[in-house]
């Protein structure tokens, strides 16, 4: 697809930012009108930084203080329904408390953007990272991006508004990243001196159906069996369209600003018998673990899933089609499922109808931020080659690193 845009002249500042702060800078540069949020670890510093920008006069926005996440998202969608560019952020229990309203945001077709510093769920209480909170939102009709660096977090929030506010999409977008492992890690991020190029790329779409006392309409009215299904099917269609819109948003971002990520990212997949699939910050650890192996001639590669919903089936199949074994590392558990990794399950279903397909192994790791080092990844690679030799992938997910469980 040809992208014909003029490369914007942008002067970038290189700042040490956490992923949380990268979100706040993006919200400022996107000139968001309304933010409603409730503090929750490890998301809190996103909203603190936004509050600081508002207090300093760097962002002209309304910050609505609410008493819970349920109210935070309710206020955000109300602002969006009134035509404002609206934002919220949360994690873990906060995202769970929003669950009911997640469906309302997408059902009302409101282009809300939300950042998620992913965190484990209670009980028992854990403030640490995994992706249980995010994976619980799978069926809420939110477009979902998972970033792997603070720079990508900034860039994805910018892309998110462009996708959400597209007249052919009009769905909310979540941008997720590892709580703590990214939310509190400082690293270099390029942010523009002046936000005009960002707004040129993602102009505010005020020309949409909205609540206006001068021209009253009703949103989300009681809908009987004759019509409800059609509303839901329109969400199905919008999600399908969102896939190419997300691809195009990234391509145009790259053409303008020189940075792009694609819907998936790959490493050495052309030449690999075993491909490790990961998402979020873990991908970087996987790459550093694999590099010395590839140098020694081990036929191993990696793939990162960046767009989780809509799921980029064709991109994933193209990337993994040459592999003999695909090992998917999930940081969430679907309890009671034989294959308990949500992304593993999705990749299996992508290949199911095909004659020729790789073996697929599901691994659960990093639950409640159980440590994953390069050594852990290399152990998983070793085990993957063992499975490849046996010629049959385990029928169940492997719970890597849990006490009392060993895999031969």
């Amino acid at each position: 697809m040809a992208v014909t845009v003029q490369e914007a002249k942008v002067t970038w500042k290189r700042l040490p930012l956490s992923s949380n702060y990268a979100v706040a800078y993006a919200v400022k540069d996107l000139d968001v009108d309304v933010i409603a949020a409730y503090p929750i670890t490890p998301q809190t510093t996103v909203v603190e930084k936004i509050a600081e920008f508002i207090a300093n006069g760097e962002l002209n926005a309304e910050m609505i203080h609410v008493e819970s996440e349920h109210s935070a998202l309710s206020a955000t969608i109300a602002a969006s329904a009134a035509g404002a560019r609206a934002f919220t952020a949360t994690a873990s229990q906060g995202l769970e408390l929003m669950h009911e309203i997640l469906h309302i945001a997408s059902g009302l077709r409101l282009p809300v953007v939300m950042s998620i510093a992913t965190r484990a769920l209670s009980a028992p209480i854990s403030i640490w990272n995994d992706y249980s909170d995010l994976m619980n939102t799978r069926d809420t009709s939110w477009i979902t991006l998972i970033a792997s660096s603070a720079q990508e977090v900034y860039d994805s929030i910018v892309q998110a508004y462009r996708i959400a506010e597209d007249p052919e999409v009009m769905l909310p977008v979540m941008v997720a990243y590892d709580g703590y492992l990214m939310s509190h890690t400082y690293e270099p991020v390029l942010v523009p001196e002046d936000n005009k190029p960002i707004l040129d790329y993602a102009p505010k779409n005020y020309n949409r159906i909205k609540l206006d006392p001068e021209r009253p309409i009703t949103m989300g009215t009681l809908t009987g069996p004759e019509w409800y299904y059609e509303f839901k099917y329109q969400q199905v269609v919008a999600m399908k369209k969102a896939l190419e819109k997300a691809r195009k948003a990234d391509e145009e971002f790259k053409a303008r600003f020189g940075r792009g990520y694609g819907l998936i990212e790959t490493f050495n997949v052309e030449d690999a018998d075993v491909v490790i699939v990961a998402y979020g910050g873990l991908y970087g650890t996987v790459i550093e673990a694999l590099e010395p192996l590839v140098e020694k001639g081990v036929k191993v590669g990696a793939m990162r899933l960046r767009l989780w919903r809509p799921f980029p089936v064709e991109d994933v199949k193209k990337a993994l089609g040459n592999a003999k074994l695909v090992t998917v590392i999930d940081k969430a558990i679907s309890y009671g499922a034989r294959i308990a990794g949500p992304v593993a399950l999705e990749i299996m279903s992508s290949f199911y109808q095909d004659e020729a397909k790789p073996m697929i192994m599901s691994i659960i790791a990093g639950i409640g931020q159980r440590r994953i080092t390069e050594d852990t990844i290399r152990e998983i690679v070793d085990y993957s080659f063992k499975v490849l030799d046996r010629g049959r992938a385990p029928e169940e997910s492997l719970y890597w690193g849990v006490r009392g469980v060993k895999y031969e």
Binding site: R14, I127, L181, T285
Partner: protein
């Protein structure tokens, strides 16, 4: 070239901020860097660790540092079992203590032939200049003297960004004092 630095202190001494200031200074210098805490539920007085990676190339891994080039110890009462594991042979130990490097090696039983040991009395510097025993900025000052991976100027810039105004100026003074002191008081125990 990549340097991996592990910071060890107790809650309240500012190990996490020290890790961040060093990374910020490296980023201001145009290098790649990453800083993150161990993310325990930090409590005042409890052992805390934080990490800084500094490199000429992008840093992709987000794993905690298990084989550091450097350990910085903000509190010499921490047992060596907390900070010594994984330290590379020939690696650098910088410790906040009144003791000389040889005295520290002797009192802890650390083999001075295996590591490069530096000491600085950062508590004294912090008490004199800041009036509180928060030694993090002084330790960053001492570190960039014995491991010149970033300039003193960029450390000072990072400190002024973190603590704007008078507090920043005082901390810059502490950095400079420790930068001078570590050279004057320390011995390479080899």
């Amino acid at each position: 070239m990549r340097f991996e630095i592990r910071w060890h202190g107790r809650g309240g001494q500012g190990a996490v901020t020290a890790a961040m200031i060093l990374a910020e200074a490296a980023i201001f210098e145009g290098k790649y860097a990453q800083a993150f805490p161990e993310f325990g539920a930090e409590r005042r007085g409890a052992p805390v660790r934080a990490y800084t990676r500094v490199s000429d190339k992008p840093i992709l891994t987000r794993a905690p540092i298990t084989r550091p080039d450097v350990v910085v110890i903000l509190d010499s009462s921490l047992p060596k079992e907390l900070y010594l594991p994984g330290l590379k042979e020939g690696g650098l130990i910088l410790v906040n203590t009144k003791k000389t490097a040889s005295e520290f090696a002797e009192s802890t039983g650390i083999d001075p032939g295996k590591y490069r040991i530096y000491t600085v009395d950062a508590t004294k510097i912090a008490l004199e200049i800041l009036g509180v025993p928060i030694v993090n900025t002084a330790m960053v000052g001492a570190l960039v003297k014995v491991l010149p991976i970033v300039s003193l100027e960029n450390v000072e810039k990072a400190i002024m960004e973190t603590f704007p105004g008078r507090l920043g100026e005082k901390n810059v003074k502490a950095v400079r004092a420790a930068y001078e002191a570590v050279a004057a008081e320390s011995v390479v125990a080899r």
